[in-house]
């Protein structure tokens, strides 16, 4: 019975649909090409002896994703609407199946989708982390030990994009699970589109991973042209997977914004929302606009390779810098998509664990919007060494420095919130503090890169790697783990094992410090990024060994977390209703939350973070109006 439910789950149906769709798509274009008498072009692919041309392969990959979504059942309701059939939302498990099978099938409840995002994110995080550890072991010694250059290139490129997919999924997990709960809505504004947002991410991750099997690619996660135009076939699947992930981002971001605008509880004005909602909305504002431009850049690259349209290759008059502009117009703001929800979690959790009001609520809320706005004006600081127009350099340097202003607002608020607070150090709080320390490393190492004279020397070095990993860990990974521990009792109704949580923290945080400072130090000493080998005379071998060991420690500590979550879900004691004594509405209802969140609607009567103030209620459960 269990096996049957797994085998008929939307994941398995979808993968079969993706395979069938891919083959159909390839066959369709190959038949047309055959009828026209065209020779195979581009990077060809040998499918059981048949030589498949690149255009057929690309079309097949797209049809495959549609096949996945059709077979999984994501489009079912919409297809019915097209022929005029009404389809009420289906709540609960599929007919005749146990409750847990909801998580394996297309479900429209935002909490189920949030948890689906969550476990997929962790799974993808483990895959991306494994890639990192594989090439990190190679880097421990100069010379090539156990990877070829091509394998190294594919692994570090895949590590980048797979981790970004994981982070986007993690952001989706937090926003989808938390926003409706926090604003008192019964679900998202568009539940079916919410399911689509999650499910389209699954086949696109499959495409990216499949790209490693068909030649891999050596462009890094940025996929710069013209290198991407010459890379093996794998780059096509990377570009396609990246592009399809954009559909997920855009749909999910629109959903979050609309839900927040139209479905807030009575009395919940904008400045009385839990602070995380502000962060989620600010991130969504970036996501639903900027994603389109990277989509254009990726589509252009796909078309340039597959059908010979010229945009980026200088051979036909194209401009490779254009790719970089389109790419970074998304990819710079998107790091704020990653960190804003994380910083929101920090602001959300600090008052709970310090038992004090959040310092400067309005400033924090508006600083999220400020970061989102400034984030659109700084993209070319990634291109100081690319040969872009000189006149653009200094304005972009200045705008980059402005990022420090709203970010600084957050730091000062966090310090002021902790000041003289009654702090307690449960695992979520530890991760919040770890996040602040790590994000500070990332923040301080940034201006050196934003300044043109120093960037020219450090741009192609491991300093960038250190800076970027510090911002991502401090801005997303640590807060995400804090959020997982903090809302774990809400999601499962049970408490995780505190001892293992603390062990996770005390392994990961020093591990990360060693890794980050190590990366920055080898960067200054001459270690270039994206290179599989280095000169032993640089004298950085010992640091590289330390970085690799630190990476292994971080990897093991994450596995401890996964073990903790899986085992605690079955065996740990049932959590108290409000274990953190939080004022937030989601903790005033049973855990796990009921299907429609609030059986009784609540009304907001005060400010959200008035911890420690007597008689300062945030919400009031209004009794149900009886009859009419």
């Amino acid at each position: 019975m269990k096996l049957k439910i797994w085998l008929t789950s939307a994941y398995v149906r979808g993968l079969v649909g993706q395979l069938v769709g891919t083959l159909l798509g390839i066959g369709f274009i190959e038949a047309i090409r055959g009828a026209m008498g065209l020779e195979p072009t581009g990077a060809t692919f040998n499918l059981f002896g048949a030589i498949i041309a690149e255009p057929s392969f690309v079309f097949g990959a797209i049809v495959g994703v549609i096949g996945f979504l059709l077979a999984a059942g994501v489009f079912t309701d919409w297809l019915k609407w097209m022929v005029g059939k009404e389809t009420p939302l289906h709540h609960g498990a599929p007919a005749g199946k146990p409750e847990w099978s909801r998580y394996l099938n297309v479900d429209v409840n935002h909490k189920v989708i949030g948890i689906q995002y969550g476990y997929t994110s962790i799974l993808v995080l483990l895959v991306g982390g494994l890639f990192a550890i594989l090439f990190r072991i190679e880097l421990a010694q100069p010379g090539m030990q156990w990877l070829t250059n091509d394998q190294y290139n594919t692994l570090f490129s895949a590590h980048g994009i797979v981790m970004i997919a994981s982070i986007l999924l993690g952001v989706g997990a937090m926003s989808n699970y938390l926003v409706p709960l926090m604003i008192g809505a019964s679900d998202m504004a568009f539940p079916r589109m919410n399911a689509f947002s999650y499910w389209v991410g699954v086949p696109s991750v499959v495409l990216i991973l499949a790209g490693m099997a068909v030649g891999g690619w050596d462009t890094g996660w940025v996929g710069y042209a013209p290198l991407s135009l010459r890379a093996p076939l794998g780059v096509q699947l990377f570009l396609l997977g990246f592009w399809l992930n954009g559909f997920s981002s855009i749909a999910s971001a629109i959903n979050i914004i609309v839900t927040t605008v139209t479905m807030r509880a009575k009395g919940m004005s904008w400045f009385r929302m839990p602070i995380f909602v502000w962060a989620a909305v600010a991130a969504s504002l970036i996501q639903f606009t900027a994603t389109q431009t990277v989509g254009v850049a990726l589509m252009m690259s796909i078309a340039e390779r597959a059908i010979g349209l010229n945009f980026f290759s200088p051979v036909g008059g194209g401009n490779p810098i254009l790719y970089q502009h389109l790419f970074w117009f998304y990819s710079h703001p998107v790091v704020y998509v990653f960190v804003l929800p994380g910083l929101g979690v920090i602001s959300e959790l600090l008052p709970v664990f310090t038992r004090k009001p959040l310092f400067g609520y309005k400033w924090i809320a508006l600083s999220s919007l400020g970061i989102a706005l400034v984030g659109f004006l700084v993209w070319a600081h990634h291109m100081f060494t690319s040969g872009m127009a000189d006149a653009l350099r200094v304005p972009f340097m200045i705008s980059t420095m402005f990022v420090a202003v709203p970010t600084g607002v957050k730091f000062f608020s966090w310090v002021a919130t902790m000041w003289e607070g009654k702090m307690s150090f449960e695992t979520p709080m530890l991760f919040v503090l770890g996040a602040i320390s790590v994000f500070l490393i990332g923040g301080i190492s940034g201006p050196i890169l934003g300044t043109i004279p120093t960037d020219l020397h450090l741009h192609d070095s491991y300093w960038v790697v250190g800076h970027f990993h510090a911002t991502m860990f401090g801005g997303f990974v640590f807060p995400f783990f804090a959020a997982l521990y903090y809302w774990y009792p809400k999601m499962t109704g049970r408490m995780y094992k505190e001892s293992l949580g603390k062990l996770h923290f005390w392994l990961m945080t020093p591990g990360f410090w060693v890794m980050s400072f190590g990366q920055m130090s080898v960067g200054i000493l001459g270690m270039r990024r994206r290179i599989a080998d280095y000169d032993p005379l640089l004298g950085i071998e010992r640091t590289h060994v330390l970085i690799t060991l630190a990476a292994l420690v971080i990897g093991w500590s994450v596995l401890i977390m996964v073990y903790n979550f899986i085992s605690s879900a079955r065996t740990q004691e049932v959590a108290a209703r409000n274990p953190w004594r939080s004022r937030s509405p989601e903790w005033q209802i049973p855990s796990p939350a009921p299907e429609f969140n609030y059986d009784v609607p609540f009304e907001v009567v005060g400010d959200p973070y008035d911890y420690g103030l007597a008689d300062a209620a945030y919400i009031q459960m209004t009794p149900a109006v009886s009859g009419d």
């Binding site: 847990w100 605008v261 349209l309 401009n319 049970r494």
Partner: protein
């Protein structure tokens, strides 16, 4: 995953708290407009790419040599289709189903003519040749003609894709309208279809001059 569940305290087939029609309509409208705003970035990115790539050090901004007559006729056709779309939507608001359906059909026919004008005639995917009143009917650009054709196919192609999905949308709404769906009070599907179609039109208002009018005409770069 067995234990990480959200056991419902309700009957598992229970219906959620009803979202009122007004709230859902507000959500739908905001959602569609946000999507349209999102698409501004898509079309604007291509427009920016056009001004970056169709630039010559000596000539300044350039454009491909295209048939002015063909461009003007297709543009006029598309703009007229918006008029009939508006007529159809107004007819639905006043409950005139016949005029509503006819308006949609005229819109779809004009949209299809535009689509043919771009894909069959301007792109000349069938490789045809012909003249009418001394005007070349079919375009000459080939995908491999460097950035001139790259941007041309990208911009017209992205727009044509939206025209095509708009046409499908119109036919779906037409078919549902024929089967008695929609009422003067509740016709979100019609409204969404109309907004989408007008939007596709407005995009062309920016694309037409960028492709056909602005800059010095060149044969190839």
């Amino acid at each position: 995953m067995g234990a990480v569940t959200t056991p419902s305290h309700h009957d598992s087939h229970a219906h959620g708290p009803e979202i009122s029609w007004e709230v859902q309509l507000k959500s739908n409208r905001l959602g569609l407009w946000l999507f349209m705003f999102s698409e501004v970035f898509l079309f604007a990115a291509l427009l920016v790419a056009r001004f970056v790539l169709w630039y010559d050090a000596d000539l300044g901004i350039v454009r491909p040599e295209l048939s002015q007559e063909l461009g003007l006729v297709t543009t006029v056709i598309l703009l007229f289709s918006s008029f009939f779309m508006n007529r159809a939507e107004m007819a639905m608001e006043y409950g005139d189903r016949k005029r509503f359906l006819n308006g949609l059909l005229v819109t779809a026919v004009l949209g299809t003519l535009f689509f043919i004008g771009v894909v069959v005639m301007e792109w000349n995917i069938l490789g045809l040749q012909g003249e009418l009143f001394g005007i070349e009917l079919f375009g000459h650009l080939k995908p491999a003609d460097g950035v001139i054709s790259g941007i041309f196919f990208a911009m017209t192609g992205m727009h044509a894709l939206h025209v095509l999905t708009g046409l499908i949308f119109i036919m779906v709404v037409w078919n549902n309208g024929r089967n008695g769906h929609y009422s003067p009070e509740k016709h979100w599907g019609v409204e969404a279809c109309a907004i989408y179609w007008h939007y596709v039109d407005v995009v062309w208002v920016f694309y037409y001059p960028a492709l056909y009018l602005i800059g010095t005409a060149v044969h190839a770069m």
